[in-house]
């Protein structure tokens, strides 16, 4: 009796899995097309900018474009001498066709005066339209009073567009 109670659900599971496999094998092109129709292109650009007093030309920039599907995250890591920044972006499609960006920023920072490593992690959820840019300042954003100081701003820009233009 106990054996039967184990075997019957197992056979049912295998049958369902087999049927599912047959279903996907039946039309892979269509499945791929369906997947690509939902795919999103996420571009993350990183910039190091001097303070406003010194001009707006970035002293360094780099960009990375990745393909993903809604709900699957993209991770970018920035490595510096005294800092390591992670940006994990997970886009979700909303019912109205807009995008909800769920992003996590992690910063590991060592200050020259400290011997300890500081860690901060922040989560954001931002509703967006396609092509709308989101900025992330992992080390904060300088204000007007601090513009004369000799330091750099680091900013990351996130842009999400559909992989296939409709």
């Amino acid at each position: 009796m106990r054996k039967r109670s184990v075997v019957v659900p197992l056979l049912l599971t295998l049958a369902v899995a087999g049927a599912h496999a047959q279903e996907t094998e039946a039309d892979p092109k269509e499945a791929l097309q369906q997947l690509l129709s939902k795919a999103l292109s996420v571009t993350i650009s990183a910039r190091v900018l001097p303070s406003d007093a010194q001009g707006d030309t970035p002293i360094w920039n780099a960009a990375s474009t990745k393909l993903t599907i809604p709900g699957r995250s993209i991770k970018v890591r920035l490595d510096g001498d005294n800092v390591r920044i992670y940006l994990i972006c997970t886009p979700y499609l909303q019912e109205d066709g807009e995008v909800l960006l769920v992003a996590q920023g992690q910063v590991w920072l060592t200050q020259p005066t400290d011997k300890e490593v500081k860690y901060s992690s922040t989560f954001y959820s931002i509703p967006l339209s396609f092509g709308e840019k989101v900025l992330f300042f992992p080390l904060g954003l300088s204000n007007a009073e601090e513009q004369n100081k000799d330091f750099y701003n680091i900013e990351l820009e996130i842009k999400i567009v559909p992989y296939e233009e409709k």
Partner: protein
Amino acid sequence: MERLEKTRRILREDPIGDWKEPMERVRRAILTRVPPMPRPIPAWRRQVSLPLPLAVLAAVILIALGVSSALSIARSNLGFVKITKAPAGGTEYQFAVPVDKVEALLKSVGGGDTGLEAVLTLPKNVKLVPVGAPRMGKETEFSRKKP
């Protein structure tokens, strides 16, 4: 003089009675009249009188200290979560957790499962310093000039 001598003789001849019992009786009588010595009270059973406002103030201070220390212990052991609404309609979540629980937090939010997609290396000569708390938002939220 003769009378005195006579009295002395009489007293000498008179046997001395048992004096111990009367003495004991007198001692007991004295002891019953003397109030007993107060027994020393232990420090934790001693009572003090305080004005009511002072007592209330002390109680409030003690409760406040207790609550703040409990919160501080809870924060250091359990961490805290701060959720704020961003102007663009987004939501910002700030977590503070003890170092030994960072890994668990990252796993719980799926960060540990994410494959590393891209690595960008910052220039060597640039030393970055924090100028505030991390911020994220739509480009329109920031008045800063764009290149």
